[in-house]
Symmetry: C2
Subunit: 199 residues, 2 copies
């Protein structure tokens, strides 16, 4: 037998594939992601990934799900490290989101792709968990009387849309990275002003 240091069974191929795939997506985009090249990089044959991901889309779905988990974790860290004050928390959360979006633009695009047909159950749950951070934030703002009352989901959508839009503008190159912080500050301030219990 050839002197392969690798055993027949990889041990945790699925995890290795996801890690390598995430790296490739970040560095070269989704289009460049190839199942076969992935297999080569990890050191298995081209058919091996099929045991863990029936087809390419299944891998992309798994990547998106993992992306939501990481996004949620980063948002949680940001909000927890921003003290108790609402506006500081709001700004920290928005900044963390945009940071994720610029660092992993291709991954975010994947997460928002509408291609997730079928068993998107797990994916939706992951997304909901990630966005629960924002919902709690909205509820805090309402409790403190800084934000208008109403369904948190409805208020949150406008906020979320704005942040997501900023991320899109930056990662598409329509806005320079230098204007980023300024834009985030503008948008959050704008949001608070527009939400302040009017009337």
């Amino acid at each position: 037998m050839p002197v392969t240091d690798r055993p027949y069974h990889h041990g945790n191929l699925r995890t290795a594939l996801l890690a390598e795939a995430e790296r490739t997506v970040r560095e070269r985009g989704v289009q460049e992601l190839s199942l076969r090249e992935l297999a080569r990089q990890v050191g298995v044959s081209h058919g091996a990934p099929r045991r863990h991901f029936p087809d390419r889309q299944a891998l992309l779905d798994a990547l998106a799900e993992a992306g939501f988990a990481r996004l949620g974790a980063e948002l949680r860290i940001a909000i927890d490290g921003a003290g108790e004050e609402f506006e500081a928390r709001l700004h920290a959360t928005a900044a963390a989101y945009v940071r994720f979006a610029t660092r992993d633009a291709a991954l975010l695009e994947l997460m928002f792709a509408s291609k997730h047909g079928k068993q998107s159950g797990a994916l939706h749950e992951a997304a909901d968990r990630a966005f629960s951070v924002m919902l709690e934030l909205i509820e805090q703002g309402q409790a403190e009387g800084i934000l208008d009352h109403g369904e948190p989901e409805r208020v949150g959508l406008v906020l979320f849309a704005t942040i997501q839009g900023i991320a899109a503008l930056v990662s598409s190159g329509m806005v320079d990275a230098e204007q980023l912080d300024e834009l985030v500050a503008d948008a959050t301030a704008h949001f608070v002003r527009g939400s302040h219990a009017a009337a």
Copy 2:
């Protein structure tokens, strides 16, 4: 010679390819767009498109450029048909943008893709022309004292980000089409409130 009703030269292959490509993108997404299938649908050999688009990305760039032109035209029509009042114009423009975004989600994604390396000159010009509608809108709002003064670009970015974010939310399926109108109305109202010359 075989009885081909088509002459050797197509006449306007480039236009035909773009039209068919746009249809395919709308109906089946960017991933499904194949140069060879496109050639078959139009009735030319698989090598013919190469004369007009050096590679696949060139076709996508051209699609994006055409998309900006059409988006600009639709925004212009919307704003011109909304009377003179600022808020009506604002709402009409936002609605038109979101309508475009939902009808041609894949095309919009293409337009915002960061892949447009190199000669993106023509593309950027097309984008600027499309967004000039929004800039004029901002300027009107400022002239009428409804919006805060300041660089129109800066104010406009927040508005544009919000609208773009709404479009992303809807076309990703995170927001139902039914909530769409409500969300657009919320967002535009929110924007005006937040921009109203504070202090």
